[in-house]
């Protein structure tokens, strides 16, 4: 019998190195003769630069260069607009170093390169800038009012994009509805906050004629191609590696100013140059996400069935739109969630403000969408006197209704079409895990009778994962028996090496540790985009599956030829290909790789050289000297994962503190490659969701100063705040890809704000509180409890 490797809870191949301090993160790499960069950043949210004087800084011993916009050669071009969109009518990107105007606190305006980071920072303090302060635009509701100061004067508006999506006939649905409920809902600004800040190290390898770059990016191929184009180098003259990366969560996918300036400095100075972001820089120099203000309404019939949804929202895009309008597009498309919304009007404006730019952070517009939809459904349940679970059940898309079209075009330009799922079963499983009925009818009433403020909440979500355009993989069986696998996707902790090795080991029936997965290195694989949008397992995993299946075919054909049997008579087991029923007639994969190659190398191979059974060229047409294949997987559209979550929370009305007592997740990401890894992804997402529900909010004041730009003030939850998370899996395979998998990276983060809102509201029923914003905080809960105070 073949050994099952796919689907097993296998320990990660990545771990021994990382556990022993032998990981290699960008800042761990020091090159001989290395210089260090530091950036002077704007202290103002909106200002003109009148003059920069770096004379004193340049004179400091050990300072090699101080550059402003005037000195950065090819980097004087505007930073790229990575994802244009027809509705993004007023895009705006920055200069790598501000030319004449800054638009947020933290915008880089000068670059110092010195013999040490300490000296570089000394020099920053010696640079003087003459400023002309302009009116900052911070509040996005004010920003869209006529007569408000403009972030970018030349655009003539603060509205970067206006989008309208209509499905069915919403106006008619609303006019004929039994009930219409309206909510104004707010999600505050937050950010990815990986524990490893960003870093870039670059060196010009002169003998090789190659620019080598180590970058904490989630998209090394994108960076490689950008640098090649910018510096007019052949793509093969730029080598970008994303080595071990300490978390990404979206914030590390971009082409940031430092990612072009550091390589440029290495090119010009002909010495290695390193820049490592510090945490304060990260708060103001790496993109944020989340802030949206929704005016949403739902129309239902007398039984709580949805007739239509209308939502108009403002999306804060920050000072620039380098990543287009991906985040609000996702919000718009995913808002209906797992429910049938026959008539839907969604409209947003993406609004500039003098704040750090916005691009995806784990969830990428989905937590917002889920929060809005689930809040509306909770309202319906409460107004109609229905159980919150029952309202959801009445509105689910049914298992026989897939594929299901939402009716809008998704972020990837393909239809928002759900491929598969079983939402009623998902909710049933959740209620069963929670022992919902007993919880609601017995346990909570008993605890509440003791004066405790406990509440139960549930929330459901879908997540479009595994989007295109494509990823590829190269798989090769080596004559040593190792299997080489290369993909273009880098990792930031998601266990790619393990799960991709599982896909390969399953097909070839080889031990997992013989599979060498290389990723995030443009010297190994040159086509693809990167790690984002919960797509690695789906898109790269499928590409690996297609490639290894071709290699398996090659091996089978070769073995059949050698053994003079039909391919169908062969089996692949125990690291070998052999004739069914006679295991001694066969080859190991190492032997097959040796057979494929007519050359015999020193020390390599245990096969005796034998006469060729054919005449003519040693390598006849159609034969290759290796068992190897490259293949690509391009999904027709996203595959849709889903889930249902439940929680019991307790509010302390004296302090406003929130305690999550129990938390359940039922999750369906299709076929599971490694349940341990999937659970880990969910745990991490849930923790970020709890952060975004009660702890993490980036506070800008009216001057555009970020008030809590440190871990002292921006509160990432610790082990004390995150409860035990109980995870159950459903597996509804995706019909779209060869593995049946769906993405899981962002799943946990999506429904938690909606869940916490639901549970807190339930806990505070005696007070008639309605939760309309996220995150909550002790202050906010006390305000809700004592509105008169």
């Amino acid at each position: 019998m073949p050994t099952r490797i796919f689907g097993q809870p296998i320990k990660r191949l990545e771990d021994p190195r990382l556990l022993t301090g032998r990981g290699r993160f960008v800042d761990d790499i020091d090159l001989p003769g290395q210089l260090h960069a530091a950036f002077l950043r704007s202290p103002h949210a909106h200002a003109r630069i009148r003059a920069i004087d770096a004379t004193v800084a340049r004179a400091i011993e050990g300072v090699i260069a101080v550059w402003t916009y005037a000195e950065i050669g090819p980097c004087q071009r505007r930073m790229p607009l990575l994802i244009p969109h027809p509705n993004l009518t007023h895009p705006y990107t920055r200069f790598a170093l501000a030319r004449d105007e800054v638009n947020h606190v933290g915008e880089p305006i000068a670059m110092v390169i010195a013999e040490s980071r300490y000296l570089a920072e000394d020099a920053l303090e010696a640079i003087t800038v003459e400023w002309e302060e302009l009116s900052p635009v911070v509040d996005i509701e004010t920003a869209v009012q006529p007569g408000t100061p403009l972030v970018h004067e030349e655009l003539g508006t603060n509205v970067a994009a206006h989008y309208v999506g209509i499905v069915g006939n919403p106006d008619q649905a609303f006019s004929s509805a039994t009930h219409v409920f309206h909510e104004r809902l707010l999600i505050e600004r937050s950010a990815s906050m990986p524990i490893e800040p960003r870093a870039v190290l670059a060196t010009w390898d002169d003998p090789a004629g190659v620019l080598r770059v180590w970058d904490t990016t989630q998209a090394p191929i994108v960076i490689r191609n950008a640098l090649a184009a910018l510096f007019e180098l052949a793509p093969t003259q730029v080598h970008v590696v994303a080595p071990d990366v300490g978390g990404g969560f979206g914030g590390k996918i971009m082409v940031y100013p430092e990612e072009v300036l550091v390589p440029y400095a290495a090119l010009v100075l002909r010495r290695p140059v390193k820049w490592s972001e510090d945490r304060i820089e990260h708060f103001v120099g790496t993109n944020h996400e989340r802030l949206q203000i929704h005016e949403a309404e739902i129309a239902v019939d007398g039984e709580g069935r949805i007739l239509g949804v209308r939502d108009r929202f403002l999306h804060d895009t920050g000072a620039y739109t380098p990543y287009g309008i991906i985040v609000p597009i996702i919000t718009a498309c995913q808002l209906p969630g797992p429910y049938k919304v026959p008539n839907y009007h969604v409209e947003f404006r993406a609004v500039y403000s003098n704040t750090v730019p916005v691009s995806p952070y784990r969830g990428a517009g989905r937590p917002h969408a889920c929060f809005v939809m689930e809040r509306l459904l909770d309202r319906v349940a409460d107004e109609l006197g229905l159980d919150r679970a029952e309202v959801r059940r009445r509105n689910f898309i049914q298992p026989h209704e897939f594929p299901y079209d939402v009716g809008l075009i998704f972020q990837d330009g393909a239809p928002t079409r759900y491929d598969s799922g079983n939402y009623p079963a998902m909710l049933d499983r959740l209620l069963q895990e929670m022992d919902y009925h007993r919880l609601v009818t017995e346990e909570l009433p008993r605890l509440r009778a003791q004066g405790r403020h406990l509440g139960v909440g549930i929330a459901c979500y879908v997540e479009g994962t595994g989007i295109g355009p494509y990823e590829g993989a190269h798989v090769r069986v080596e004559p040593t028996g190792h299997v080489y696998v290369a993909t273009g996707m880098p990792q930031q902790g998601q266990a790619h090496r393990t799960v991709l090795a599982q896909v390969v080991a399953e097909e070839l029936q080889v031990p997992l540790d013989t599979v060498q997965v290389i990723e995030g290195d443009t010297a190994h694989f040159e086509f693809g985009s990167g790690t984002y949008a919960s797509r690695s397992a789906v898109v790269a995993g499928s590409a690996v599956a297609l490639a290894v299946r071709r290699v398996r075919e090659q091996g089978l054909r070769l073995a059949a030829e050698e053994l003079e049997v039909a391919v169908d008579d062969l089996v692949v087991e125990d690291g070998r290909v052999f004739v069914r029923g006679t295991p001694e007639r066969g080859f190991t994969w190492a032997q097959l790789a040796q057979l494929a190659n007519p050359l015999r190398y020193a020390y390599a191979g245990d096969l005796a050289v034998r006469p060729r059974p054919w005449s003519g060229p040693t390598l006849p047409p159609g034969r290759q000297p290796a068992l190897e294949a490259t293949d690509y997987y391009s999904p027709p559209h996203a595959t849709w994962a889903s889930g249902a979550v439940g929680a019991v929370v307790e509010v302390d009305p004296a302090t406003g503190m929130l305690h999550v007592r129990r938390l359940w997740v039922v999750h369906d990401c299709g076929t599971v490659i490694n349940p341990t890894v999937v659970e880990g992804q969910i745990h991490g997402g849930v923790a970020q969701g709890i952060g975004g529900s009660f702890y993490e909010r980036l506070h800008y004041d009216e001057n555009g100063q970020l008030l809590n730009a440190s871990f002292m003030d921006f509160l990432i939850p610790t082990a004390m705040e995150i409860p035990r998370i109980e995870v159950a899996h459903l597996e509804t395979p995706s019909p779209l890809n060869p593995l049946g998998v769906k993405g899981v990276g962002e799943a946990g983060a999506i429904p938690i704000p909606a869940l916490v809102a639901s549970a807190v509201e339930d806990a505070l029923r005696p007070y008639g509180v309605r939760v309309k914003r996220m995150p909550l905080s002790p202050d906010e809960l006390l305000r809700l409890l004592h509105p008169e105070a």
Binding site: L18, L19, G680, A687, M712
Partner: protein, 164 residues
Amino acid sequence: MNDPTVERRQIGLTVNGQLIKRQVEVRLLLSDFLRHELGLTGTHVGCEHGVCGACTVLFDGEPARSCLLLAVQADGHAIETVESLADGESLHPLQRAFWEKHGLQCGYCTPGILMVLKAFLAENPTPTEAEVREAIAGNLCRCTGYQNIVEAALEAARLLRQEQ
């Protein structure tokens, strides 16, 4: 010469049991000294203001934030970093437990947590889950939601007791 940008001082300390003597700038952080002077890059730097805990090392056996210490303050003291945990190829029970229980994802916060737990489990070999959570409350992890870290710590405690 008291200019901290140039003043250097001789220090002598023990790092992972080895005696080290170096001339260092007086303003050099202990974290930078370990990482970039000694090449012990297992100690990571996440915030440089003493909150995230990624840079935690043992300072005379006690957990300390190496980003909040100067290298000169370690003069005459003993430092242990994550590189000291494994004995050659043989993993420390903490490392085995973290591997077994999927206690790490990106691995960036891991070394700091391992060092905190080494000291904690020496003091409290039979911790409850709540005690473990409190022990690592000074370490931020953005990947795992802590659950498997807690599992790993409890498993490590069990392994360490077995080895006694």
